[in-house]
């Protein structure tokens, strides 16, 4: 397998563009703070977005992201280049988010809770009306719609949710998803098909209105 891959363009304008992944990995293994700053500039937002859709509680995505970063920092020396850096990082993020979700569920089962506890429900950010062509009503409707889709996604069972998020939200290809999850490409296809079916059923009313 060719270990040298292009990892794309830096998102942060201030970060220098390192097009050679092997060089970047070498810098990371050498403990270069600049290389890690570059890595953060590229991956912190996609990872945070991925984790936000994977964990049950939105507020815990920051903690999970910090754990992911810690694992990347401590594990970069063991990175052998058999997969791309991107899929290696995403694999850590998906595993960490899944573990966190499992432990959160265990905690939820054992902890007493109040029926008035707002944290049990998905928090929907208040829509912000910015003027322009959108009316306050359309902004609110859009926010409601997003909340409904997010709720359906969060309620999706673990194996399907990971595949759907990686494909639909992060835009990874089938073979990249297979690498991240450590499963065969056929498994990715079947999980994606099943996940989409479930989502389509749950959002049937909304999708009917859309089409």
């Amino acid at each position: 397998m060719d270990t040298i891959r292009s990892i794309g363009v830096a998102i942060d304008q201030t970060a220098p563009v390192i097009s050679d992944e092997a060089a970047l990995v070498a810098e990371l293994k050498g403990g270069s703070e600049e290389a890690f700053a570059y890595l953060l500039a590229i991956y912190q937002n996609p990872l945070f977005n991925l984790i936000s859709h994977m964990v049950a509680e939105q507020g815990e995505a920051a903690d999970v992201l910090q754990n992911v970063l810690l694992k990347i920092l401590r594990g970069i020396r063991q990175f052998n280049g058999r997969s791309s850096l991107k899929t290696w990082i995403y694999r850590i993020a998906v595993h960490e988010a899944s573990n966190h979700r499992r432990s959160w569920r265990r905690r939820l089962l054992h902890e007493p809770f109040s029926m008035d506890d707002d944290t049990l429900h998905l928090s929907v950010k208040s829509p912000i009306y910015k003027g322009g062509r959108e009316t306050p009503y359309s902004v609110y409707e859009k926010a409601e719609c997003q909340a409904e889709v997010k709720r359906a996604l969060t309620d999706l069972a673990e194996p399907y949710r990971a595949v759907v998020v990686l494909r639909e939200i992060e835009g990874l290809s089938y073979d990249e998803i297979a690498e991240v999850l450590g499963v065969a490409e056929g498994t990715v296809k079947s999980r994606l098909r099943r996940g989409r079916e479930i989502l389509k059923r749950r959002l049937a009313a909304r999708l009917s209105r859309s089409t």
Binding site: G31, E33, F36, A37, L40, Q44, N45, F48, N49, S52, H53, A61, A62, L65, Q66, L69, L70, L73, R74, C145, Q146, V149, K150, L153, V164, R167, E168, I169, Y174, K189, L192, R193, R196, L199, K200, L203, A204, R206, L207, S208, S210, T211
Partner: protein, 215 residues
């Protein structure tokens, strides 16, 4: 690959919308969709679902979290105790180094300026000493025969600079020497001694030695 039922077709919609179906399957699905309204509606719902998912707002890392991540990276990379101490020291001293150096320099400059203004001004008038001894102004040349021993005498000078008396401390005290000394003292003139700038009487010690010049 030719699909015959709607169920078979719908099983491949997921890959079809992602564009990863084989060419034959794509042809077969397109042919089926051209005459099957329920499957076309089903595919539209697939497309709508994809749109809804892709329109979900992307979560961005807040500036506070971004800063925490940078700090975490820095701390993790400087886990070595020595390096951590260095980083802590640097972080501690860097903000205070410039202000403290600038402050110290400013304080030194202020102190120097204050001391400079407090110092007494140099007077243009020369200082007057409290007491000055009499000084020789005119001493007539006399061929004094003082012998081998030096002749030392104390001379008493009045406020007008004239010698009032003298006393030989050491040396020959012959009559000839005394006559020569009397003559010399009579014609001598001294700058009188002063006390607080006023001329007054004083004493001056004179020493004479015979110098033989050959040739």
């Amino acid at each position: 690959m030719i699909f015959e039922t709607c169920s078979e077709i719908r099983d491949h919609f997921s890959e079809y919308v992602d564009g990863v179906c084989a060419a034959e399957a794509i042809h077969s699905i397109r042919y089926h969709l051209s005459h099957c309204v329920p499957c076309t509606s089903e595919l539209e719902r697939y497309e709508a679902l994809r749109t809804e998912l892709r329109c979900l707002s992307r979560q961005q890392v807040s500036s506070d979290l971004a800063l925490r991540l940078r700090v975490q990276v820095s701390q993790e990379l400087h886990r070595n105790i020595f390096q951590r101490v260095l980083v802590h020291l640097e972080n501690f001293f860097r903000p205070v180094l410039f202000p403290s150096v600038a402050g110290s320099l400013l304080a030194l400059i202020c102190i120097a300026l204050m001391l400079g203004s407090e110092a007494p001004q140099a007077s243009s008038v020369p200082d007057i000493p409290f007491v000055t001894p009499p000084r020789v102004q005119v001493l007539p040349s006399v061929n004094l025969d003082a012998g081998a021993q030096p002749l030392v005498l104390v001379t008493y000078v009045n406020a007008q600079g004239r010698v009032t008396s003298y006393k030989i401390i050491s040396g020959q005290q012959t009559l000839g020497v005394i006559q020569q000394l009397d003559q010399m003292m009579y014609y001598s003139l001294f700058q009188p001694a002063t006390s607080f700038g006023q001329p007054t009487s004083g004493q001056v010690v004179l020493s004479f030695r015979t110098i033989t010049v050959r040739g």
